[in-house]
């Protein structure tokens, strides 16, 4: 009898757990209803998520995707990338128009929009955000140049603005209390509250990209003065949203800035109008009331929440791609994708990334670095098409030049081509290199930045392809910082590589092979070629056009002949949206377009 009673007690215990779920669901639904406002005026909440913790919400102290996810909504820069137009082009954001060149050819006049206000915040009198002026812009650019404030991203503007490098050097001498008011940047001149000029060291299209980079966002000096290092916890800007609540490891909420100055673009790329992307043309931004951003680091819960309708937009990784997406057969070699029938209610997007995936050769290495024929043999042996099909499920295009296809100056403009797999040619080149049938050639080491499954599979693929031409490989899988150290020292034979555009200009990619950028600069191949350098220096500050593209083609030809790398792919960025999401166009330079998106009721 005692025994039976104990069993009963145990069953009751189990039963109590079974009862819980019903209560749970109700509570969750209730809390969700209350968070979306009253029935008369429901709030429009865009539920998205963060994939990793942000480093800082202070524009000058961040240079990572997670921080950018907030900063682009909280702050504004002078310029931005047009949301809809492709190829990517700069557009005024805090300005009334694009900067105007002055008579000297290197000074530009910037005219600010009037009436742009900082967020309402306790740092201002009576909590009302004051108007942003030219003083704020100059203060923010000085802060970007201040070595005590910005350790991460100054190189993006280094050498571009007259007097800015000198200002930075001065700041290094005063680690404490460096007073911006006492030190001027000679290239920055305030004309009045809404107009200022920037004098550049030379006229170049590259001058303007840093002004769209989030690090140069405009901040109010009183907030920086009040909060100091804690400004990142009290971010005040002119952005489309303000920080309503913040939780680094929980859910952060951004709320609509009712005084936002921006409007939806009135022009787009071909096809945008038909896709309904111009229906909101000219309307005041933003359209949604709040953005909810919980931290979800794993892909499974993010996708499950999406499928349950609790997240508006989610990226598709390799496993989800297999489950959700089909390839559409084409006859012209282009890649097309569609969602499987069970997911057709969602909207699929896929766009070529602004990144090139490749392998570098260490030009200092006595075996591969000094033997061009060997590098050519390896380039002939590698199959980029096979890599894309097997490793990426076809979600990419083979790279014909280091410049991704979405950036002006790519193979579309230059007509450049890269090696296609040809094992016979590979063997011939190998013999030319002094290693007939691979005899005498030691196994070459390929450096990888981690030991994750993907990297090991990529190595196995490459090892197998090169073995067809009798070239042996060994993989070295290591931590990311060890990988960086090794490549910075140029102490390697072959290394996994990739470059994501800092700004949409081909120069950013060719700089990877410019001899003055040798390691620890971005030219970690330590490639050196006088002819390449001359063409790069000439093309660097030119406007895009046939003359510049001709120089790019010349540089492509040198890279193909000298082979400091093996080009592989330009991958697709892919994701799905809930059916009620409007105005969404994947813009890889405005990665989180919260201020443009809308939700259909």
């Amino acid at each position: 009898m005692k025994f039976q009673n104990r069993w009963l007690a145990f069953l009751c215990l189990l039963g109590s757990f079974a009862v819980q779920p019903g209560c749970t669901k109700k509570k969750v639904e209730e809390s969700k209803v209350s968070s979306t406002g009253s029935a008369e005026a429901p709030l429009k909440i865009f539920y998205h998520y963060r994939r990793s913790e942000e480093k800082s919400l202070d524009p000058v102290k961040s240079f990572d995707e997670a921080s950018r996810q907030h900063i682009r909504s909280l702050f504004d820069t002078l310029l931005e990338y047009n949301y809809l137009k492709r190829p990517y082009e700069l557009a005024p954001l805090l300005l009334t128009k694009m900067p105007e060149k002055q008579a000297d050819g290197v000074t530009y006049l910037f005219t600010l929009k009037q009436g742009v206000k900082f967020h309402d915040h306790a740092v201002f009198p009576e909590g009302n955000g004051r108007e942003m002026t030219a003083d704020d812009v100059i203060f923010s650019l000085k802060r970007f140049a201040d070595a005590n404030a910005n350790r991460l991203s100054y190189t993006l503007i280094q050498g571009l603005v007259v007097g800015m490098d000198e200002f930075r050097e001065l700041s290094k001498k005063q680690p404490q209390g460096f007073d911006y008011a006492k030190h001027e940047i000679s290239g920055l001149k305030k004309l009045d509250n809404y107009r200022f000029t920037i004098t550049f060291t030379r006229d170049s299209p590259l001058n303007f990209y840093p002004l769209a980079f989030e690090g140069t966002s405009v901040v109010p000096k009183e907030a920086v003065a009040k909060y100091g290092d804690d400004f990142d916890k009290n971010p005040v800007g002119t952005g489309a949203f303000y920080l309503k609540s913040y939780s680094r490891r929980g859910t952060t909420v951004l709320a609509k800035n009712p005084n936002y100055h921006g409007t939806y673009p009135t022009e787009g790329a071909p096809g945008d109008k038909e896709a309904g992307l111009l229906e909101a043309a000219g309307k005041k931004l933003p359209f949604v009331d709040e953005i909810h951003l919980p931290l979800i680091e794993e892909t499974q819960p993010a996708m499950l929440k999406f499928k349950k309708g609790e997240v508006a937009w989610v990226a598709i990784g390799r496993d989800d791609y297999i489950a959700m997406v089909d390839r559409v057969p084409t006859t012209d070699g282009t890649k097309k994708f569609k969602l499987k029938p069970e997911y057709e209610k969602y909207a699929l997007y896929y766009v070529p990334s602004l990144a090139t995936n490749f392998m570098r050769f260490g030009m200092k290495d006595p075996v591969v670095g000094k033997n061009k024929a060997l590098r050519q043999a390896i380039a002939y042996a590698m199959s980029a098409d096979g890599f894309i099909e097997l490793m990426m499920n076809g979600r990419g295009n083979r790279s014909e030049s280091i410049v991704p296809n979405e950036i002006a100056g790519s193979t579309r403009e230059t007509g450049s081509t890269w090696y296609t797999q040809n094992i016979e040619m590979a063997k011939k080149k190998l013999a030319e290199a002094g290693y007939p049938d691979g005899k005498g050639l030691p196994a070459l080491t390929v450096e990888y930045r981690s030991a994750i499954k993907d990297q090991r599979q990529q190595y196995e693929f490459m090892r197998n392809e090169l073995a067809k031409a009798n070239i042996k490989l060994e993989g070295n899988f290591q931590s990311f910082s060890n990988f960086l150290k090794k490549t910075d020292e140029g102490n390697y034979q072959i290394a996994d590589a990739g470059w994501n555009a800092d700004y949409p200009d081909a120069e950013n990619f060719y700089s990877l092979f410019y001899s003055k950028n040798k390691a620890p600069g971005p030219n970690t191949s330590n490639f050196e070629n006088a002819q390449f350098d001359a063409a790069y220096e000439k093309a660097r500050h030119m406007m895009n056009g046939p003359e510049r593209y001709k120089l790019f083609a010349e540089m492509d030809a040198i890279l193909k002949e000298e082979v400091p790398m093996i080009l592989i792919s330009n991958h697709y960025v892919m994701g799905v949206l809930q059916p009620n999401v409007r105005n969404f166009k994947r813009n890889l330079l405005e990665e989180y377009p919260y201020k443009y998106v809308d939700l259909a009721r």
């Binding site: 480093k55 680091e297 819960p301 150290k485």
Partner: protein, 311 residues
Amino acid sequence: MINYIIRRVLQTIPIILGVAFIVLVLFTKVGEDPVRMKLGNHATQEAIDELRAKWDLDKPLGTQYLIFLKQIVTFDYGESFNSGEQLSEMFAEGAYASLMLTLPPFFAGILMNLAIAVLIAFYRGSWIDRYSTFVFVAGMSISYMVYIMFFQYFLAYELGWFPINGFEPGLNAIPYLILPWIIFMIVYSGPQIRLFRTVFLDETKADYVRTAFAKGCSPARVMFVHIMRNALIPILTYTVIEIPNLLLGAFLIERFFSIPGTGDILISGVNNGDFPIIKGLTVLLAISFTLCNMLIDILYAYVDPRVQLDG
């Protein structure tokens, strides 16, 4: 007793010194370089050197070790390299979430698993014993990750019984925690029940059991009164030694269910090369283990009068 406690506290010093040394060497020689992780691809050598100096990473290993020891003594590990947050605040918040996640299912699980184990031991050799052995061994063979992914998919997504993930402070956390609690209890049930059953069966061979039967006690009374009381000593050991692990949370559950506990903080710390986090949590864990071991010995003396601490 006081002498014993003082002696045990003093014994922890070489342990902590050793742990600190191993952590420092491992981090310096094997781990990610925190400066490169923080500054990324665009950093100049000057910026790298400056930050290395700011974080004392340019100093000789011996000096870094002394700095680390000072941090241990003062319990001040400074700020996270990655976020600049005060570690004391981070750890307090993390421990709160981790204990919310682990404490209820741990103690509820122990009670439930004790009940199941004693029943299985009572019916040893029967179909209940054989069947449960098969079920629990099979359950233990399945990866923790599989439980998480399956239950999250099936119970939260397919059946919609629970939220998929999330966390809120206070009692609002409960709806988000029920599924993680269930997973936690299921994952721990196999090893715990097997352990407790073995303990009970070992006790059945003791002399006092024969004496109890000789006195005419029923099998149920012997099992549930005499054996259970004596089996509590190893069970107590197991329970107390698990307490530091509860503080550290269950990092896979925390990650998949977005629970901001110390386990998740530690994983992020390792991924980002955030040395203060790794240092702080490792040493705190070492101290917790040492203190819990001491606590076990003290509790032994109370539970079993034969144990003489000062002897």
